[in-house]
Homo-oligomer: 188 residues x 2
C-alpha cells in the first residue's frame, strides 16, 4: 500500500493557472495513453483539497462528457476544506479538516491493500509529505510552460527524490515516477 | 545550426538557488553520463548572462579540478552584462549588451555550421526566445525540489513545446529535449 501524489504539471512546475484552470492541459494528449488507467485501478481511497474539489464541481458537465459520470470515482474520497461545500449526489465523500495523519489512518482502512491517491493540490500533498506519509510522486509533465500559476510544491523544502522511471507519451507528456525517501516525521 | 538552451533544473523549475548556488546539482549524477559530451561537441559558440559568468569566476578552482581548466570552453563565448566584468586569461570572450538579435548574428558567423548554446540564465534564454531565435530546450531535470530559487523560465509566456525525447539517467536525472515551435518574432 502506497500513498501517491499523482498529478499533471507544466514543465515549469505549475499544476493549474492562477485562476485554477486546467484548459492548458487537455490539448496535450489523451489520458488513456498515460499510466492513469493502470494507476487508478490500484487506488482504494482519494484525498483532495477544496480547490481541486471545486474545480470538479464547476466542470462536472465536461467531466460527464469525458467519463460518463459527473463524479468519476468509485473509491471513497476525502475532501479537505475548512468551509462547508456542496456534496455530489451518489459520490462517496467525506469532508475533513485538520491534521492529515488522523485522516490518513481512516483512508488506510478504507483502501485496504490498495493505494491512496493524493489528487492535489500542492499544499495538501505537502501536508502529507511533511507528515512523512507520502511514498511516491507520479508526474505527467506537460510540454508547456505557464510562467505562473498554482505551484506543484508550494510547501516542499529541498528534497532529494529517486527517479524510478521516465516514459515519453507522444510529444505532449513525459511521465516521471519518483520514490520519496523515508524520512523522520516533522512535528506539525 | 540550432540555438539551444541546455541547462540543469530542479524538478520544480529552478536552475539555481536564490544565492546562485549549484551545490544541490553535483550529488545527483555524473555529467559524463548525460547527453552533455555529445552536445558540447556540436557547439560552436556560447552565450551566458552575468550571473552564470560570475558563478564560473567564483568557482574556477572547482571547475579546474573537474575539467582540468578554470575556463572549460574552447568555443568563443559572449557574456551579456551591463557591468564591466573581469576577463578570464586565455578564454575567448566577448562582452555584450543590448538586443540579442545583433549578437546572435555574430554568434552564427562564429559557430559556422555548429550550434549556439545559451548557457543561461533564464532571463537571457527568454530574450532569445522572445526574439524567435531559440530552437530547442534541453533539460537535465534533477530528482530534487528546491521550493524557491532562480527560475528556469522567468520571462516565458504560456508556450507549447514538442517533446522530442526523454531519457532516464540513473535515479538522479531525466534528460528532456523539446523543440520550440517556430513563431512570429515579438518586437522588443
Amino acid at each position: 500500500m502506497k500513498t501517491q501524489y499523482f498529478t499533471a504539471t507544466s514543465l515549469d512546475g505549475f499544476i493549474a493557472t492562477e485562476d485554477d484552470s486546467l484548459e492548458w492541459l487537455f490539448p496535450l494528449g489523451d489520458v488513456n495513453d498515460t499510466g492513469y488507467p493502470e494507476f487508478i485501478s490500484k487506488v482504494g481511497a482519494l484525498a483532495m483539497g477544496s480547490a481541486t474539489y471545486e474545480w470538479m464541481l464547476r466542470n462536472s458537465q465536461k467531466i460527464a462528457e469525458e467519463t460518463g459520470a459527473s463524479w468519476p470515482y468509485a473509491q471513497p474520497t476525502w475532501v479537505f476544506s475548512s468551509r462547508v461545500l456542496p456534496a455530489v449526489p451518489g459520490a462517496d465523500l467525506t469532508f475533513a479538516q485538520g491534521d492529515v495523519r488522523a485522516v490518513h489512518a481512516e483512508m488506510r482502512s478504507a483502501a485496504a491493500d490498495k493505494n491512496i491517491w493524493i489528487v492535489g493540490g500542492g499544499d495538501l500533498a505537502g501536508q502529507f509529505y511533511d507528515a512523512g506519509l507520502l511514498d511516491e510522486l507520479i508526474l505527467q509533465v506537460g510540454s508547456v510552460t505557464l510562467g505562473k500559476g498554482k505551484p506543484l510544491f508550494p510547501r516542499f523544502t529541498p528534497t532529494p527524490l529517486s527517479l524510478l522511471s521516465a516514459r515519453q507519451i507522444g510529444t505532449g507528456f513525459v511521465e516521471l515516477r519518483y520514490q520519496i525517501p523515508a524520512r523522520a516525521t516533522k512535528n506539525p
